[in-house]
Structure formats: C-alpha cells, structure tokens
C-alpha cells in the first residue's frame, strides 16, 4: 500500500464509520472504491471496531507479568524479596523450587515456593481465599506473589516417606487420620477443597503434629498435580503426559473423568490415603496413567487387607458416586466398627482370607484390582505439548512411538535432528549425529531407532551413542521402513528398486519387490505379525485416488490389493488374528476389520478420526503401539485443516460487541444456555464422535455428559435445568441428568431421526421435529420420574406436506413458533398451542426474508431469529386469540456463527451466546503438539466391531 492509498483508506474508513452498518457497503461501493483491495481493507478495518483486542487496556495494566523479575539471582541466599530474606534452597518440585526464607518483619522462617511462571489473576484470587485458612493441621499460606507462594515452614517428613518405611499400626494411623480429617473439615467449612490430597502432601512434624500442605493449589499447573481440576481424563488441552502419574492414584472417579471436584473428592482421597497408611500398599496402581485412571473409575478395590475396623469407613469413602459417599469428613469416626470380642474368631478368619486374597492378587499382578483384568478401557485423549522449542517438520512420519509405548522418537529443527523422549520424563534427549534425519522407526525391542540421512539407512541407540550405518540406499529417498522381529529391515525407496530388505546388523540392500508398471513408490511398509507379508501403500501418481493398499507376500512375492484410496496403512494386531486395518484418506483415519490369515478385509471401512495431518501426496502422520497391554495407543499429529470448524464461545451484545466466554476453541456446535443462564450445554466433536458437554463459565469447567460411541448432539435443557434432552442420530431422543452423573438413556427410540427443540414452561411437554420424508413437528408429554424423564404418547402438532422444523414454545406456553418452507423458503411462523379444537387455528408469519431458528425473548415480547447472516428481532402483541407480529428489525448485522443452530438467546433477551468460527490455530503450536489416544484399540473394537468368532476378552 502506498502512503496515498493509506490516506484514502483512512478517509473512507472515517466516512463509513459515521454511517449505520447497513449503509456502509453501499457507501463504499458508491464512493468508488474501484480498487477492490482498498474496499476490502476498509471493510476489514470496520470489522475490527466491534472486536475487543489487546489495545483496549493500557499495556501497563496487562503487561506487569512481563516486567517482573524472572531471573534466578533473585532467589539467591541473602537477597530480599519484599520483607523476606532468602536463607537457602530447600528443594525442587514439579512446580518449581522451594526456598527457606526469613520474614524480617515478623521474625519467623517461612518456605517460599517459586513457580517457573507467573500465576494468573484467577489463581492469585483463589490463593488469597486459601490464605484465610488458619488451622493447626493446615500448612498456612501467608502470601501470594506474582510467581511465588509464601507458606508456613513445616519441618518433618512426609507421610509418603513414613509409609515407605512400613505400614502404620491401626491406632497411630487413626491418630494421623484424625488430624487430616480435622484439616479437611476446617477447609471444607470455608468451601475450600484440597483437590490433591496424597501422602506426599501430608507432613508429620517430629512432635507428631500432622500438617496438610498445598491446599487447593492443585490448580496451579506446572507441577505433578497440574490440571487435576479439568484434565487429565478424556480431554483436550496440552498435558504433560506422564507427569500426572503420581497423582492419578488418589484422584476421585469424578476427577478422573475430568469433572470438577468438590469436598467429596477429598473424602475419596482420605480413604485412599488411610488404606495406604494401614497396608503400606497403594490402592490404585496401573502400568500407566490411563490404566490407573481406568481402575479409579471402574474397579471395585479389594479392601480385605485393611483392618476390619475401617472397612465400612473405607467403603463409604470409596463410593464411586459422590452422592453415595461419606458426605462430611467430620463424620468419619462414626463409620469405624468396633467388633465385639465374641467375634474375634470370625474376624481372624476374615484376616486369613484376606491374606490369601492378597497373595492371589499379588500373583495376578501387583495391584488388587488387576485380579479382574479390564478389557474395555475408555478412550483417553492427551494433547501433548512437546515443548515450545520443538518444531516437528511437516513430513511423513516425523513422530514414532516405541513398541512398548514408553518412548517417543521425533524429528525437530532445521535441519531436522532426531530426539527421543521417555514419556514419563519431561525432557527429550537429542540423539547426536542425526542431522538431516528423516523417517524414524523403532526396532521391535524398542532399543534402537532407525532413520534415514544422506543416502544412508542408519540406526542409533535410543539412549544415544554412535550412529550405526546399516546400508546405502543410493540416491533414492526413503519412503518408509519397518523392522521385523527376525532382524530384517524392509525399506521402501522411490523409483526403480521398490522394496528393499536390509539386515538390521548392516549389509547390502536386496531388492525384493520392484515397482510395477506405473508405480511411483511403495509408501510406508509394515511387516505384518508373523513376518510373512508386508503391508504397503502403492502410489501410481501423486494424489489420493491413485493409491492402493496392498499386501506383499514374501514366499511367492505376490502383491494383492486389499483396499483402495488411502495411504499410510497400518494393521493394528490383536491376539485373535483379526485386527483392524487403519489408513488415512484426506486427513480422515478409517478402520476396517482385517483377517491376518486370509490377508483380507471384512465389512466396510468406518471413519474414526478426522483430523490427522496429511500432505498433498496423501502421506500422513500417525503411529501406534500395542501398549498398554494390548489396549493400544495411537499417536498422531493434528491436521492443519482440522481447525476447520473450530469455534470459540462468545457473547454478542445487542450492539454487536463481542466478548469471549470461552476462548479455548473446540469443535463446538449448538450451545444452549441453561434456564438460569449460568451454564452452557454444547455439542463437541472430538476424536470422530460427537458428545454433549456442559460448560460452566464461572469455573471454566467442561463436564462431559455423554461418552463416545454414538453421535450425541442437539441438546436442550429442561425448564428446571435438571435434565438435558438430545438426539442420537439414527436412534432417537435421549436424556441425561445435566450434572453428568447418569448414563444417557433413551427417552424415545421408536423413530430414528428426531430433534428435540423446546419444553413448555412447566416442563410437561416437549416439542421436537422428526424426519419422516419431510420434517414434521410433534409434541410429547414428559414426566419427571425422579432422576429420569419418561415420555408419553407423541402427538403430531402440524401435519403438512412441507418441511416444518424448530418448534419453540413461547415463554407462557401458549404459542409455538417454528420454521416452515411452505412459501418455498424457510420462514418463521407462530401458531397457538395447543391447536384449537376446530383444527382451524390461525397462523401468523413473523419473518419475510427467509429465516430459521426462532427464539422467544423471555423478558420482552420479541421473537429473535436468524435470517441469512443477520439476527432479526420482531416485537409482538397478543390480543385475545390473535397474535400480532410487528415488522422485524435487524438486531445484529454480519452475524457469524459456526452454523445456523449454533447460537442461543440469553435469558435477558438481549445478548446472544454464539459459537463463532475462530481463525486457524497458531501453526507454530502444531509444530510441537501431538495427540495421544490411549486405549485406542478398545475404542476401535467398540466402534468397528471385529466380526467372526472372536472370543470375548
């Protein structure tokens, strides 16, 4: 842009701003902004007027975090921070370092916990609430700095150290439990939940006083207790995989499910800690995070090892359902059982049985619950941030996971170098000498990473060491390699030589399958289990449709096409010989059952993931491991166009001014405000399935109401806010309690395609529309059976040969607004409800410019609807049986929602809650994020059942 053009743009901008939004476009066109670029520039500037940005508050107010000291020197002994003088370093934890300091004002010693990063304002506010806790068994939080906490200095050992030495005798353990319970009771009384109670957070002073540490600080993030409020169960959001491990074992089922914890989560943890004190054993143990979480959610722990006196208490603390659990920690002693002396015999026998059981359990594996091996674990999604310093190149297979699932190998940097990272550790290790590396792959034992660089196929130990050359591939690029159990590496190269076999110990490559006529390359070979055949993706030319997925049998050197159109095929094995073949087509991962003996697919391919990174050649980025224990892990990179459909939740005021409600974008649709306006029900697309979640803006917490497996969407609230009613495509209308504690249940399932829209104000009747040829509107009586809704006999409201949809009851329940295409396009109409007995009730047209989705304003006499890209509002009056709608006015021009259902009217009748499209996510972020889907094989078995006589596991 030249300076002159800039002036012209400025002039047009100011003149257009003086006009109403409706007049602007005409003005700009008339003003002879002949230059389309200039016109666009002015329009884009005008659009920014209604958007909030960082410029709207003086920098200094929001930039303090940049100015604070972050250098380590500040915490050196002798230096002063406020009135505190640093004495020395006490240790380091996940969150940062801990220092001993002298409070010069009050003349006492304190502990200062310093975080690596600044705290947010919200955390600081919460911490201030916590600092009001003053109890002899609670480590007092004195003060909160921008990135540090000043706390009571507690000498002594942690309970974890005490337990490690030996189990604690019953009387001593109950004494400790009493002090823990006192601490919890005092906090709960003030509405403060600990959220991360565990032996490592409980200190025992030399005089025997118990101090509970880190109250409510689990939210702080960054530490081992990070994100326990809304992660690590099924969720998105970057999580440091593995680092959560320590805490999962004490997490309540509701926390493990990713729900918000209240005081009852502490009661659960109290039970787990008590058990551990008495037995010296952890109650919930898993090989990894997802197993631990799954056991917390599902397994009924064996409590026989604990003394009889506490078993009733433990059972009550460890109720999965918070409502059935011990409700107030102060009552814990009431549940102790003092058995009469006469029953010691029985008690002793019980002990003997318990001892035997524990041996059985130990043999079965080292955790009590493992005696019943879970075979069907829930999918756990972890968005793992490998660190800001990582930049994964946009090439096929930049990331590989070791066969045992414990290690990741990835490429990073320019030129790319190879890194490995153990998943239980926070730091990656660069493998020296791996510049220009590509195509990393693991050896079957997980001890080596193979890779290609400078014409050579190489290997290097996962822990580093020298690069070992395996074979020279000449000038041909490697298009994938697979390391077989018997020590051969099958490598595929572009052009003539096709598929090569190279001894893993080194040696000359042998061509075993030359490219056929028109073949360009065999992509991504995989040695199938048994080592007799190779799965590969053959490309005839670049592009999706010219690809075939083939199996090459080594004995007769024959190729056989097993699927068409996809690439990067992988067979995910099971113990039965029938597993899943997965492949990627245009960023969608498909799965189809595959018979390993016959080398053929069964049934049809089903899409299971829709955001796998791929490039124009169709190459894509994912890898898998059988871990844990055959439940399977899929690791993949998200596609850049996976951002399509990403939305944020925004309030849009009557003025068009937007305010973000939930900035973290997701594949959200159809937000619906709860009747009191405090919560939002949402449909969220994640991992290929749609589910209903409830978002609570006050806590910024997402609670999942439905769990995968089906498509659940289109949720509406019952007027009392207790239930959500939603649709499951192809099945019918479902219901669930809005607090997420119940499984979804069918409300109506005799017709497959029905969409609930609105309840009468008394909640006794539901209006919905269903597809039976065309859309037709029905209503059905609904009764609250206490905990669930029951539907009566449906009645058709309106029988027509047109499409009638989106029925919405008026606030007084007398009228039904709906959309109908009877005029040739959808318009909003209103009819009386119920239909007059004559059957000849009036019908009033509200909109006249094409419209969908009427919403009634609850406060004013208005119907608000979407017409094209405008939100319109029409006032109305009622005279007797007559409904009089006035001429609609534009409420919000240039309205932008992710789709036409994805907005709702606030209870005040003015603001709109909108799922608005967000710009593609920061591409830099994708460079260092990968997604882990744990228990992916279980998920596949649920969604793409393996046919044939497969024994139930």
């Amino acid at each position: 842009m030249t300076p002159d053009q800039f002036r012209e743009m400025e002039d047009l901008y100011h003149r257009a701003r003086a006009l109403s939004p409706e007049q602007r476009d005409t003005f700009l066109k008339d003003a002879g902004a002949a230059d389309a670029g200039l016109l666009g520039a002015v329009q884009s500037l005008l659009a920014k007027d209604s958007v909030e940005g960082i410029l709207d508050r003086p920098a200094a107010q929001t930039a303090e975090n940049l100015l604070g000291d972050s250098d380590r020197a500040r915490w050196n002994p002798g230096t002063r921070v406020g009135s505190f003088e640093i004495v020395g370093r006490l240790g380091a934890g996940g969150m940062g370092e801990v220092f001993r300091a002298r409070d010069t004002r009050l003349g006492r010693d304190v502990a200062i916990k310093v975080s690596h990063e600044e705290f947010g304002a919200r955390f600081q506010r919460e911490a201030r609430a916590i600092s009001s806790l003053n109890h002899p068994n609670i480590c007092t939080l004195y003060d909160v700095g921008p990135n540090y906490l000043v706390m009571e200095l507690v000498e002594g050992r942690t309970l974890a150290e005490r337990i490690k030495r030996s189990p604690i005798p019953l009387d001593e353990a109950l004494g400790i439990a009493q002090q823990i319970a006192d601490a919890l009771g005092a906090a709960h009384e003030k509405g403060i939940t600990h959220r991360d109670l565990k032996p490592g957070n409980i200190n025992i002073k030399p005089d025997g006083t118990v101090k509970v540490l880190d109250f409510g600080l689990a939210k702080m993030g960054g530490g081992p207790t990070a994100q326990s409020d809304d992660s690590p169960a099924p969720t998105s959001g970057p999580t440091q995989k593995g680092v959560i491990l320590g805490t999962a074992a004490y997490m309540s089922p509701e926390q493990a499910r990713g729900k918000e914890a209240d005081s009852r989560a502490d009661i659960w943890a109290f039970g787990v800690v008590l058990y551990e004190m008495l037995t010296g054993q952890k109650l919930f143990v898993g090989a990894d995070l997802s197993e631990t979480l799954a056991s917390v959610i599902k397994e009924q722990p064996a409590l026989e090892r604990a003394p009889a006196k506490v078993q009733r208490l433990l059972r009550s603390c460890l109720e999965k359902e918070p409502k059935l659990r011990l409700q107030a920690i102060g009552d814990w002693r009431l549940l102790l059982e003092d058995r009469p002396a006469a029953r010691t015999g029985a008690s002793r026998r019980a002990w003997a049985v318990a001892a035997m059981l524990s041996v059985v359990a130990a043999v079965a594996l080292w955790a009590p619950w493992r005696a019943e091996k879970p075979s069907n674990l829930p999918l756990v999604r972890l968005d793992v941030d490998l660190g800001d310093d990582v930049s994964l190149p946009d090439v096929t297979s930049a990331v590989a996971i070791s066969p045992d699932g414990t290690r990741l190998a990835y490429l990073s940097g320019t030129p790319p170098r190879l890194f490995t990272r153990r998943l239980d550790q926070a730091k990656a290790v660069e493998l020296p000498g791996t510049q220009e590396a590509s195509t990393p792959f693991f050896s079957p034992d997980g001890r080596w990473v193979g890779f290609y660089s400078n014409h050579m196929l190489n290997k290097i130990s996962v822990t580093g060491g020298a690069v070992v050359p395996i074979g020279n591939l000449g000038g041909d690029n490697l298009a994938g390699a697979s390391w077989s159990e018997d020590g051969s590496i099958f490598a595929s190269v572009a052009f003539q030589r096709g598929l090569l076999r190279i001894p893993a110990g080194g040696g000359p490559p042998e061509s075993i399958a030359g490219l056929g006529d028109g073949d360009i390359v065999f992509n991504a070979p995989q040695v199938l289990p048994g080592g007799k055949a190779i799965l590969l993706s053959a490309s005839k030319a670049l592009g999706q449709d010219r690809k075939t997925i083939e199996v090459f049998t080594l004995a007769d050197r024959r190729r056989k096409v097993v699927a068409r159109g996809g690439s990067l095929a992988r067979y995910l094995p099971t113990s039965t010989g029938v597993g899943h073949l997965v492949y990627v087509y245009m960023g969608t991962l498909f799965a189809i059952p595959f018979d390993l003996a016959k080398l053929e697919t069964r049934g049809t391919a089903v899409p299971v993931l829709d955001d796998v990174a791929h490039d124009s050649t169709g190459s894509s980025q994912f890898d898998f491991s059988l871990a844990p224990s055959g439940h399977g892990t899929l690791v993949y990179r998200r596609a850049s166009n996976g951002d399509a459909g990403m939305a944020a939740l925004q309030w849009v005021a009557q003025t068009g001014k937007m305010e973000t409600l939930r900035a973290k974008p997701g594949l959200y649709s159809m937000p619906r405000l709860s009747p009191d306006g405090t919560q939002v029900a949402l449909t969220v697309l994640e991992g290929g399935s749609k589910d209903i979640w409830v978002y609570d803006p006050r806590r910024d917490a997402m609670t999942r109401v439905t769990f995968g497996g089906a498509i659940f969407r289109w949720a509406i609230w019952s007027p009392d806010g207790r239930y959500l009613v939603f649709t499951s495509d192809g099945i019918g209308i479902f219901q669930a309690r809005a607090d997420g504690v119940s499984q979804p249940q069918a409300l109506m399932h005799d017709r497959p395609l029905q969409w609930p829209c609105s309840f009468t104000p008394d909640g006794k009747r539901l209006a919905y529309f269903e597809a039976a040829g065309n859309f037709q509107i029905w209503t059905v009586p609904v009764e609250d059976m206490g905990g669930r809704l029951k539907a009566g006999k449906p009645e058709q409201f309106l029988k027509s040969s047109f499409n009638d949809a989106a029925p919405m009851f008026s606030p007084d329940g007398r009228w039904l607004a709906y959309s109908s295409d009877e005029s040739g396009r959808y318009e909003v109409y209103v009819r009386a409800f119920p239909s007059p007995a004559s059957g000849q009730g009036g019908k009033w047209q509200v909109s006249n410019t094409g419209a969908m989705w009427p919403h009634w304003s609850r406060s004013g006499h208005e119907i608000v609807y979407l017409s094209g890209d405008q939100i319109m509002a029409a006032s109305y009056t009622v005279r007797g049986d007559t409904f009089i709608a006035e001429k609609p006015r534009v409420r919000i021009p240039d309205f932008n929602a992710i789709d036409w259902t994805s907005w709702d009217l606030a209870p005040d009748g003015r603001s709109l809650l909108v799922a608005t499209p967000v710009d593609a996510a920061d591409p830099r972020q994708r460079e260092h994020e990968v997604v882990f889907l744990e228990n992916f094989f279980d998920e596949l078995r649920r969604r793409v059942p393996l046919t044939g006589n497969i024994p139930a596991q």
Partner: protein
C-alpha cells in the same frame, strides 16, 4: 534529579535532535527500574499505572525549576517510546526464555478481564507499530502515548499539540489497523 537530563530535555526542545538519543537512554534506565519495582512490589489489587510511573520518573529526573511545560510534553513523548521499548524488550526476553526452557505451559484459565498480555502479542504489536509509523508517524506516537503510557485523549493531544478529536480519529484507525495487521502476521 539529573541535571544532564534536564539539559538534554531542553536541548531537544530547542531543536537539538542528537540530544534525543541520549535522553532516551537515560530515561530508559530510570523507567525500567521504576517499572520493575512497581511490578515486583507487593500489590494490593492495584495495577501498574504507567502514567504515574512516567510522572514519577519525570519528577525524579528533571529539575522543574529549569523546564517549561513544553518540556514536560517532550518528556512524555520520549517516555512513551521508552515504555514501549521496555515492555517489548521484556517480552523478547520472556519469549526467549520460553523457547530455551521448553517449559511446561500453564493453562491457568485466566479470567477474561485480567488476561495478561502475552509476549508474542506485544512483539507483533511492536512490528505492526513500526509498519504504521512508515505511513503516519503521528499515529504511532498516539498509540505509544495512549497504550504504553495510558494517557487520555486530552493528555495525548497536549503532548502532541493536536486536537483531542484528531487523537481520537488517529486512535480509532490505528487500533483497527494494528489489530488487522497483528492478526495477519
């Protein structure tokens, strides 16, 4: 009080362009020290007021008996640019620390009203401001005074010796232009 700064301010006010550079260097040190002190001290819900900070720097550095009101305006113009550089430098340091450490990212679910400025946002704004200054240097000054120092339209108008209306018009356009530019970068 720093006699040299007072001299520099006066020299610059009477047209000595070379004095500006030395003035800026001197002001940077004082403002930076003050800003860090403000940011690090125990806060009781008071957020950093850059206007107060610049005023304090002015009172500390300048001999009021020897300067005119125009000199104060000059000082603010320099201080605004300096505040910008202090914050941008801090942002650059933070961004580098982040890259170097591969630190665990915290999701603290900031409430909207107090969301802190992210280093990358500030760096992009800095670039966009440079681009804006190429088209219209005055607009960049307006943004510096209003955004980095927090001056009102009237105070900004006083420093730049233009009408408050012009300040508001400049601000509106600059705000939209910068937001668009930052979104595009």
């Amino acid at each position: 009080m720093d006699p040299e700064i007072t001299d520099l301010l006066r020299a610059w006010g009477s047209g000595d362009a070379a004095a500006l550079e030395r003035l800026a260097a001197a002001v940077y040190g004082e403002l930076h020290r003050l800003a860090r002190r403000y940011a690090n001290r125990e806060r009781e819900g008071n957020s950093l007021q850059a206007t107060a900070l610049v005023n304090e720097a002015y009172l500390r550095l300048v001999d009021l008996s020897r300067v005119s009101w125009q000199d104060r305006a000059h000082f603010f113009a320099v201080a605004a640019n300096t505040m910008r550089r202090i914050l941008v430098d801090a942002a650059r340091t933070k961004a580098a620390e982040k890259r170097g450490g591969g630190a665990i990212r915290m999701e603290l679910n900031e409430s909207i009203d107090a969301a802190p400025l992210r280093p990358d946002q500030l760096l992009r704004l800095d670039d966009a401001l440079d681009a804006l200054a190429k088209y219209d240097a005055r607009k960049a000054r307006v943004v510096e005074l209003r955004f980095f120092v927090g001056l009102t339209a009237e105070e900004t108008a006083e420093v730049l010796r233009i009408s408050p209306e012009s300040v508001l018009r400049d601000w509106k356009l600059s705000r939209a232009w910068l937001m668009r530019e930052m979104a595009a970068s």
